[in-house]
Amino acid sequence: MAANNDQIEPKHELLAYEDSHVKYGPATAKLDTERRLLAEMRLPYSAERLIDASFAAESSQRTQDDAQEAADRLQIGAGAFIAGGDVLGSPAEANEVIEELKRSCAAKGESKELDDLVNLWIRAEPWLDDREIADLWPDFAAKLPGEPERINRSRGADAQGEGARAQGGGH
């Protein structure tokens, strides 16, 4: 094994890439070590090999589903990637939903099924400004299970491991 880089001939293929490796991306500490070892061993390597060496090697494989078992599996989830607030089609539709929400929140008693009211809130909420939310929320929350007068207060229970200032509670 060669003692160090200084003993390598200047025309060695390795040195042709010694000053240009930056254009292939920053070398990792491991790659630096390996390049040094290759130099010590006077082993040349190609630019293609150097580029390949800058990337981790990865692969994934999936088990083939049994057709009958796949058909029997239950649908268990739904969800959304929330990239913005536009869950409604148009401002006109938004106004309609907001007005319906206002009427439902203002109605005495349980004029609407709870799930329908919740879904109405979810549809309208992205279109409401802070003041509208502040105005509507107490009436909406009053229709939810629990004690509405306590919504804006905390029991001040200590958090578990998140610092003394975390506060939470329940009823």
């Binding site: 800058s54 990865e58 913005g84 799930d115 610092g163 975390a166």
Partner: protein, 269 residues
Amino acid sequence: MSVMATLWEHRDFQGFSKTSNSGNFRYFWNRWGATNDVFSSMRAWSLGHRGNAYAFEHINFDGRFAALNVGGAFTSSWWSYFGDSFNDKVSSSLIVARESQANEIEVPLRQQVASRFIALFDAQTAGTKLSRRGDPRVYGTFFPGYDISKVFATIDQDLTVQLDNWPDYDANVKYDIEFFLVNGRLRGVCQWSHVWVESGIFSGTVHDRIAPGLHGARGQLTAAIQAQLDLFGSRVFRSVYLLPGPIPDMNQFGFFANHTDDVILVVVR
């Protein structure tokens, strides 16, 4: 009959808010793209179901999380402030609508799965240049990009690969296990395997040497999982699902944990 949760921009339920409802689903998830790292308080309601609401540090339902429990001792629970160390950290959230306590069996998977995996792995790799680096992590993987409709229990093992007269290579293998019912009977299948080898001159070569065996082990893992699930015998269940982290104490309003702490298998009678 559902579970609802709201996240607010500021502490004490102030500022803009985002509300989600599980509807008729077991899970309802949100990845907070444009509104990540802004939430400071959270509240959850039971609308007829027991359930848990989770707010995670990272976008893939991972990292640290704040959880709320409803439908047990509390109809509604809240974090009026997440605390300084978790304020403005939430990037994804998950609502899980659950069944009555009498109908559910909760099984923490980490300890059992990890010990069984270690025994299997070490037996397979004894005398080779592939070895475990530390113990496996066992956690829930919810709706991953490569299989968006699925929920898995993941075994995540760091590895070391020795080379002759050359520095060792770091590697990693992950196995995703899916639990489901067939005619009411509980099944577990190792659905995905993922192999990673750190970058380096021999990265591809090392990968090509170790990947076939690691991927091929899915069959053995499935057999081992199924043997464990035989403990449930011929019992028939209505549903099966996973919870992230440790078992929620439904007599407490909520808790903080990390997604790698555990994953809970819940079977519903």
